[in-house]
């Protein structure tokens, strides 16, 4: 039977693993040892890990070391070990592995991983940034009534694009920090795609509001769509950057979405009671091309206005 030891970092991340095809392992700073540790706090001959011939269990023995042995943070001179116990000698941490205990099944490889590989093309990312920039410039052009100068508005729009790029950059850096691939091209493509999608949806929303003039229920639909979009975006960013279980990823995505949306909507609801000498109405006007639904008649409008008086009287009581 073999003894398997794992060298751990301070945060218990495995650094190296050793397998010994023998019944005992001597650990220390001396070059004679089976496992030699280059740690000044470890004695030349520090401890012995052995398999008890009677019970078949792993044992650890202190070889009269200066600094002793800690098993799961308790000083011991001799102890029986279980699988995954952590032994600390000097400043080194080792984990004992019982090879008899079966490992968990492999996480099935997500199809999504392969399906998203098309995002990882530099050509696509470059095209998308070009699209985004043109879109930003176009909306700036449409929003102004002064003479439009491309050169003058380019810096500010490039700046805005740069701000958008902070998101994929952050995820790429985070991925690098935890020693994963950065996937920076995929992150860029994803972010730019989402920006285009959001703007497309805003256009649709304007057309819908202008044509059907919906009530408050529409705000809730907007909220749901917006929340779904934000949550999926965060979920995909996480998916590309880190290897996590779906459960963990769902929780992170939902909580970040909540943290982003809650303050925005809470502020909206808190401000409704504030007195304002200006009315709140939707001033949106769209060209005849987008004007799909038919208009009502003056008489009907006046009938509706009539009930508006009853509504405003109710505000008085509060």
């Amino acid at each position: 039977m073999a003894i398997v030891l794992e060298l751990l970092s301070r945060k218990n991340i495995p650094l190296k693993h050793y397998k010994f095809e023998q019944d005992y392992v001597c650990v220390g700073r001396d070059f004679n040892n089976d496992l030699r540790l280059d740690d000044p706090y470890v004695c030349p001959s520090h401890m012995l890990v052995a398999i008890d011939p009677e019970t078949g269990k792993l044992m650890v023995n202190d070889c009269q070391s200066t600094n002793g042995i800690k098993v799961n943070n308790k000083f011991v001179r001799q102890a029986t070990l279980n699988s995954h116990d952590i032994i600390k000698i000097g400043r080194t941490r080792l984990r004992i592995i019982d090879t008899k205990v079966p490992l968990a099944e492999a996480i099935p490889l997500s199809e999504l991983e392969d399906n998203l590989s098309w995002l990882n093309q530099s050509f696509l990312a470059i095209c998308l940034s070009f699209f985004c920039l043109s879109f930003l410039l176009l909306s700036k052009h449409l929003g102004s009534v002064q003479e439009f100068s491309l050169i003058k508005s380019l810096p500010s729009e490039l700046g805005q694009l740069a701000v958008f790029c902070l998101w994929p950059l952050t995820f790429a850096i985070l991925a690098k920090v935890v020693k994963k691939e950065s996937h920076i091209v995929s992150q860029f493509s994803l972010t730019l795609l989402v920006i285009l999608l959001v703007n497309g949806l805003i256009l649709l929303q304007k057309i819908a509001i202008f044509n059907i003039n919906p009530g408050t229920w529409f705000t809730w639909i907007e909220l749901v769509i917006f929340a779904t979009l934000v949550a999926s975006f965060i979920w995909l960013s996480l998916f590309i950057a880190f290897h996590q279980t779906n459960h963990r990823r769902n929780i992170i995505a939902c909580s970040i979405t909540f943290m982003i949306l809650a303050p925005i909507y809470a502020l909206g609801f808190l401000n409704t009671d504030e007195f304002s000498p200006r009315p709140h109405y939707n001033p949106l006007l769209l060209p005849p091309t987008y004007n799909i639904t038919s208009a009502s008649q003056t008489d009907k409008f006046i009938v509706h206005a009539n009930s508006l008086f009853t509504q405003v009287d109710k505000l008085k009581v509060k």
């Binding site: 200006r278 060209p287 509706h304």
Partner: protein, 409 residues
């Protein structure tokens, strides 16, 4: 010339000597500090102690009868308390009564008719708390084209003279000081309105809970009168861009126009037509009502392109606000209704109508209306009005008439 000036001064001196005992400074005393918080002038009109002043002089007391009281200060320094008998908010008049009468009460006689245009008249009052003064001036007839009638007076009325009488050379009252419109032009409340107020000469003193219902009745009656005039006449129309709009909807509304044609760099054309009532009714220092504004703006995007034009067009109808001042305690927030509406002349508008109600006055509302035509890809007409202190019926009739008055040429 010198002779006439000397003559005029002589009359002024005589008048002052004769009637100064009937002229008072009106003080609004804040109870908490025991000191005056605002002042004005007033004059006695009968021997039973009735004094006429401006409503705006006593408005603080009317709004907060438990925080203020009204006092007079006579020429000889004697003081006393006053009670509110009646108000006329529409014409900015108030009738107050002395609580304790002295043995010798003096009063101004009231003129029977207005004098001839160009006659000398004399305004009396207490400007800036400096003591009673006489200002000679000229009667220039009733102010032209105004719904809230005023006498046009050439002479300077200063703050603090509000509520003082204006008399003819015989010392008969024919107006009350009210406002100043800049150098040497003042406005006075005319005789007719004073005579109407004097009907309450013998009335009981108002209880403080009767103040606001009294004002409400007056405001409601006033807006009925105003809107029956506006709603029952045919509105003159005029051309603005490609549209036909109602312009001077009545004689007493004054109209102004403007355009951006002098701006060579503008990529669009904007032509405006604005009409409004000159006067508003003062209720307290942060609340005015009784105003009417009607505005039209024709926009032509020339070569902007439909998307750019409509972006700009949307911005142009953004952020319309009320035409009158009001605070949170006076009115509710606005609530709005909006829709696309085609009127009888087949003009399609995006139409927004907003309302707020007066918290103190039943059945009175402020109305704001904005509409923008949707028929052209690069031109549009914005129509807008605000009405302050109107009833539901007046507002609805006016709105319908307004909406159906717009047409294409």
């Amino acid at each position: 010339m010198f002779c006439s000036l000397a003559h005029s001064q002589q009359i002024a001196q005589n008048l002052f000597g004769q009637y100064r005992t009937a002229l008072y400074q009106i003080k609004i005393i804040e109870l908490e500090s025991g000191n005056k918080s605002s002042i004005g002038s007033g004059f006695q009109i009968d021997i039973s102690g009735n004094i006429v002043t401006n409503y705006h002089v006593v408005s603080k007391y009317v709004y907060n009868p438990d925080k203020f009281r009204i006092e007079y200060l006579a020429h000889d320094g004697s003081q006393g308390q006053l009670q509110l008998v009646d108000v006329d908010v529409v014409n900015d008049l108030a009738l107050v009564r002395k609580v304790d009468l002295s043995e010798q009460e003096n009063a101004f006689p009231i003129a029977q008719t207005l004098p001839l245009q160009g006659s000398d008249i004399y305004s009396l009052g207490n400007p800036h708390d400096l003591g009673m003064i006489v200002v000679p001036g000229t009667f220039n007839g009733l102010k032209k084209s105004s719904f809230y009638q005023r006498i046009h007076f050439t002479g300077s009325i200063n703050p603090g003279m509000s509520g003082g009488p204006v008399v003819n050379k015989n010392g008969e009252v024919m107006g009350v000081n009210v406002a100043t419109a800049g150098n040497q032009i003042g406005f006075l409340i005319p005789l007719e309105k004073i005579q109407a107020l004097l009907k309450s000469q013998d009335a009981q003193v108002l209880k403080s809970e009767q103040f606001k219902p009294r004002i409400q009745t007056q405001l409601l009656a006033n807006q009925n009168k105003l809107f029956s005039l506006l709603n029952n006449q045919t509105w003159q129309t005029t051309e603005l861009g490609d549209a036909i709009i109602p312009s001077k909807i009545t004689d007493f509304i004054s109209c102004w126009g403007g355009s951006n044609t002098s701006d060579k760099e503008a990529l669009y054309l904007s032509v405006e037509n604005r009409c409004q009532l000159d006067e508003q009714i003062y209720l307290h220092h942060e609340l005015r009502t009784g105003g009417v504004e009607v505005e039209f703006e024709w926009l032509d995007g020339k070569s902007l392109g439909e998307h750019r034009f409509y972006n700009f067009y949307s911005q142009s109808i953004t952020g319309a606000g009320a035409g009158n001042n009001a605070t949170k305690t006076d009115v509710t927030n606005f609530i709005c209704e909006q829709d696309k509406v085609t009127n009888i002349n087949v003009v399609t508008n995006k139409t927004v109508m907003c309302l707020r109600a007066y918290k103190d006055f039943e059945k009175l509302y402020d109305v704001l209306f904005v509409a923008a035509t949707l028929d052209h890809s690069q031109q549009g007409l914005i129509s807008h009005f605000t009405l302050a202190g109107v009833s539901k019926e007046s507002a609805l009739v006016f709105t319908q008439k307004f909406m159906d008055a717009i047409a294409w040429q």
